[in-house]
């Protein structure tokens, strides 16, 4: 196959550690934007990221990142930055040197490497403590300095393994804003996380993993459509909730219509949301019910994850 120079492609990739399965028969391709790998610990997220960056080799299949493979390290690692989950650093290194010397290995001269180092430290909010030894950093600071190293050379593909771990709320918000800025510049940002709410907010698409398999992938709404056989929950805030619930029950695809405790709305579970919305339009236009708000109640990754693998994705 001819690799697409804009995409990240996994082509039937499997990885076995001896007899232990890492990931099995993974095939998908990713466009630029933020992609989240979601799954409980041991589901294969880190294996997938390590495969993508060449830290491990696939047992079978092929991976292309913007048309390149890790066998072309000079071209490949100029395009890719990886912030791993390994919380370890070269002994005695300070924050500045931790970023500066890898940039020198990229081939940048002294001045350019220093400029990029300072820029990365500023972007990650680590400029003030850059000359301190990394060994004296807090967990959040270590996470941020690793992030700074990964973005310092302005990669086109940024791979982040649990990048929000150990960050305080302020740093989380700043990091998320940074990822969004990077993604808006047309870059790939691949994030793994088991904190579903966070990736739900920032992701353009998700790859849901379980026990080494990709169980679903695509935009969150597309993934939701893939599990059509599972009822979707829709919350309708309205007057005359009892009338709406009765009308909803007349539809075959509605499996549950529950009036909210305050009596001002209905939670509907339906296998065909489109049909339900048509009914709702009819009722509203007939003047039987006044609708204040309609929203899918489970159109987030957490719910999808529960449907797909019967787990809430919490770390095991």
């Amino acid at each position: 196959m001819t690799p697409d120079p804009r995409q990240i492609v996994f082509d039937n990739v499997s990885k076995f550690y001896g007899e232990v399965l890492g990931v099995n028969r993974v095939s998908f391709s990713l466009e630029p934007g933020i992609t989240s790998l979601v799954g409980p610990n041991g589901s294969g997220k880190t294996t997938l990221m390590n495969l993508l960056t060449g830290l491990i080799r696939p047992s079978q299949g092929a991976i292309y990142v913007l048309g390149l493979t890790p066998h072309q390290p000079i071209e490949f690692f100029r395009q890719v930055g990886y912030c791993t989950q390994f919380d370890s650093f070269p002994p005695g290194v300070n924050g500045y040197d931790f970023i500066y010397w890898p940039l020198r290995l990229h081939g940048f001269g002294r001045d350019q490497a220093a400029k990029l180092t300072n820029e990365a430290l500023e972007r990650s909010g680590m400029a003030q403590v850059a000359r301190r030894k990394v060994a004296g950093y807090s967990k959040g600071m270590r996470q941020r300095v690793r992030l700074a190293q990964a973005i310092a050379h302005h990669p086109s593909v940024l791979v982040l393994d649990e990048p929000l771990n150990g960050l305080d709320p302020m740093a989380r918000a700043e990091s998320i804003a940074l990822f969004e800025t990077i993604a808006k510049q047309g870059m790939h940002v691949i994030i793994s996380s088991h904190i579903l709410e966070e990736v739900d907010r920032i992701s353009d698409r998700v790859v849901l993993m379980s026990s080494g398999y990709v169980v679903a992938e695509g935009q969150i709404r597309e993934v939701r459509r893939e599990v059509r056989d599972h009822p979707m929950q829709i919350l309708v805030r309205c007057s005359n909730a009892a009338r709406l619930a009765a009308a909803a029950f007349e539809l075959d695809h509605v499996v549950e219509a529950k009036i909210l405790n305050d009596g001002h709305g209905v939670l509907v579970r339906t296998r065909d949301a489109e049909q339900f919305y048509l009914l709702l339009n009819k009722i509203v236009s007939g003047g039987l019910v006044e609708v204040d708000a309609v929203a899918p109640a489970d159109d987030d990754v957490n719910s999808i994850y529960q449907y797909l693998i019967g787990s809430d994705g919490a770390p095991t």
């Binding site: 960056t53 491990i56 990886y82 070269p90 890898p102 290995l105 081939g107």
Partner: protein
């Protein structure tokens, strides 16, 4: 025609390689590795390995002020040859190279920092060469300094007779040979230990086997003796040690090899093993939990 094509292909390949980038990457790698391995408290025992004979000779010079008779020079020359051949080649340089060169990659696995080296735009062959050069610089610097200090302490105590032996006699030539042999020992053992660290998760056991082999080769036939590093080093040494003790009856005196063959042979060994390491590095995956 095909030979011409091959040459043309090689020349084209050579022209396409970013040699300037490789050399700047190697210089950065060497600088980082030297700082990491040489200027660190954890490496004090390697300094001790290198400088124990220096300390002993220094103590000898301080406390034995009577043994400065010029007739003792020949005897002390043999003592110096024993220090270099029996201590440095068989123990000091051997163990220091084992520690320095196996730690270049294995140490990074233990410290879980090797992935940083694998996530930069550096070819793995360049990484091997850079790390090897760093190890070679560290070990050569330490042991050449130590041998130089031993040489100075051996002859300085004899005053003008010592100076005459060094500058008007064979002393300076012997020093040159010792320094050459020390550098070759560091490079030869270094290349072997680097390859062992890429081949085995625990290179200590094969290292111990190598040490055993180096120690017992004198009792093997001449062809087998040629498969040891010590054989070539011994033939490059300016002073031969008499074979004594119970092992002497088992020892087979092999025909000496020429200086050129010994130097060339050791350098070839180092290069071949280094090329092997360049292949082995591609097998390494970052799976720290499995180590």
């Amino acid at each position: 025609m095909s030979a011409q094509n091959s040459v043309a292909r090689i020349l084209k390949w050579r022209k396409e390689q970013p040699w300037q980038l490789f050399s700047s990457q190697i210089s950065v790698l060497v600088r980082n590795e030297v700082r990491r391995n040489l200027f660190t408290r954890r490496r004090i025992w390697i300094y001790l390995l290198a400088f124990i004979p220096v300390l002993i000779l220094l103590a000898h010079n301080i406390f034995d002020r009577h043994g400065t008779d010029p007739s003792q020079i020949e005897n002390d020359t043999l003592v110096l040859a024993g220090i270099v051949q029996l201590y440095y080649f068989r123990l000091g340089i051997f163990f220091a190279c084992m520690a320095i060169f196996t730690w270049l990659f294995r140490g990074e696995v233990v410290e879980r920092t090797l992935h940083y080296q694998f996530l930069v735009p550096v070819r793995k062959e360049v990484l091997v060469v850079g790390k090897f050069l760093a190890g070679a610089i560290i070990s050569v610097l330490l042991f050449e300094t130590a041998v130089l200090a031993c040489f100075y302490l051996t002859y300085s105590r004899f005053g003008s007779a010592g100076r005459a032996y060094v500058f008007d006699g064979p002393g300076l030539g012997q020093l040159g040979s010792y320094l050459l042999v020390t550098a070759l020992a560091c490079v030869g053992y270094g290349a072997v230990f680097l390859a062992l660290s890429l081949l085995f998760k625990n290179p200590i056991i094969p290292g111990a086997m190598l040490m055993g082999w180096e120690a017992i080769t004198p009792i093997f036939p001449a062809w087998a003796q040629r498969l040891s590093v010590t054989f070539y080093l011994k033939h490059l040494c300016p002073v031969s040690l008499p074979i004594e003790g119970p092992l002497a009856i088992f020892t087979i005196v092999a025909e000496p090899v020429s200086r050129f063959v010994a130097v060339f042979g050791l350098l070839c060994l180092a290069i071949v093993v280094l090329v092997l390491s360049c292949f082995l590095i591609h097998r390494i995956e970052i799976t720290y939990t499995a180590e």
